[in-house]
Symmetry: none
Subunit: 227 residues, 2 copies
DNA sequence: CATTACCTGACACCTACCTGAACGCAGGAA
DNA sequence: TTCCTGCGTTCAGGTAGGTGTCAGGTAATG
């Protein structure tokens, strides 16, 4: 699982980061909201851990903005005890959960896996994209009434487009998503997977931007709805 | 929504009850676990609010027993700040959420409606799945007129699929369900249980998604084609 | 035209998965 | 006690399907 941690406290941030890593996840840790914005713009996280009081703004505004722009990435809020109203506001703003500081690290682990579980069965599991109906919990896709099954890798790539429907994703970005940092891939894997996805989902779905990368075709994404 | 409140503190209990009522729900309030047992035996609640320290036992044992016997009613745990390990154990025992005392009442409202949303399609005691008729209370399954009996572990795995019929469940998720955090299982237990379930329920029942996990076959679950 | 980027069918490897079988352990009966 | 039975867990061998690689072909760009 790829997790974004937004926390300005160094001590706490380090502890949280280490715990998450030892749970087998990947973490990117930033201390400011504008860094966080950069991160979510380029990387499709599966979970955001969000402190509410940050040097350059309130976490809740960040969260609200993300939800406004259609981002459904699960978010857990990290908050101090005396910010009860903030917590409620956070839940209303679209947070999936919160942790009250100071919290136990094994509790963090439990909450993370709980959110991960819950998210995969979230109340809005069905996403519609053109003629595709996507059930993220079941990882199943229906195309014109027929079920389409994707392999693990294929789903990873497809998911990247799902999470950021309008974005143009470079091959490097997609590779980074598929393979852990150190792994070296010396070939046209991404091209191959794009091809396989096109074969399964329909060739009009993903369009090539020569020299730059790939993105979902505009008529598929639509103007406002979807995701 | 019909809610069971298990809380021995009179002041808190009254406050919670009033809040829930003013949210438009129905509450049954009991102060002891054996009263709670009577209640859940006769009434199908949609949510249980469960204090952990009660005069006649630990709430967590109650919850665990309910889950063991196939009850999937959502539960929110009410716990004091210093009972962190209890909270974690509660989540592992099958709680859906918890509230830390002292909590704000509007926070309670938010959490309740969150659970309600999550479980908007609440499972009833007699579930039909394809040619299977499942009695979660009795843990018995009828397949084509014949009774099928599952062992405890087999049921645990099966129940996971029952609770989230359309979800894809990874082996890690299933393991986490079977074993407490500390227990280490170093083998293909899940694979074996999947195999045994298939043998008992029919091979077409559970399908493998290589590299990702397992899920109920789609023709079994049936396509809920809203959306 | 040449050049570059991308597409795609084919293929070998490898790993996740399946399955039968055996082992360990607990509870019950004699 | 000892034997038996049922359940949970582990292990090893076999298999099929996913993955990465490559080569030859196609389309875009100047």
């Amino acid at each position: 699982m790829r997790i974004l941690l937004v926390e300005d406290d160094t001590i706490l941030g380090m502890a949280v980061r280490d715990q998450i890593v030892s749970d087998g996840h990947t973490v990117d840790w930033v201390k400011r909201l504008d860094d966080a914005s950069d991160c979510v713009r380029t990387i499709a996280y599966e979970l955001v851990l969000l402190d509410l009081m940050l040097p350059d703004g309130r976490g809740i505004d960040f969260l609200k903005a993300r939800r406004q722009s259609g981002d459904v990435t699960p978010a857990i809020i990290l908050t101090a005890l005396d910010q009860i109203s903030e917590r409620i506001a956070g839940l209303n703003a679209g947070a999936d959960d919160y942790l009250v500081k100071p919290f136990n690290l094994s509790e963090l682990t439990a909450r993370i896996s709980a959110v991960a579980r819950r998210y995969s069965g979230s109340p809005n599991p069905h996403v519609k994209l053109g003629e595709l109906i996507i059930d993220t919990a079941a990882r199943s896709i229906h195309r014109a009434g027929r079920a389409v099954t994707l392999t693990a890798r294929e789903w990873s790539v497809f998911e990247a487009f799902l999470q950021r429907p309008r974005a143009l994703l470079s091959k490097a970005q997609l590779e980074e998503r598929l393979y852990s940092f150190d792994a070296e891939v010396e070939s046209n894997t991404i091209e191959v997977y794009i091809g396989r996805l096109r074969k399964k989902l329909g060739h009009e779905f993903i369009e090539t931007v020569r020299g730059m990368g790939y993105r979902l075709a505009e008529q598929i994404v639509g103007t406002k709805d979807g995701i």
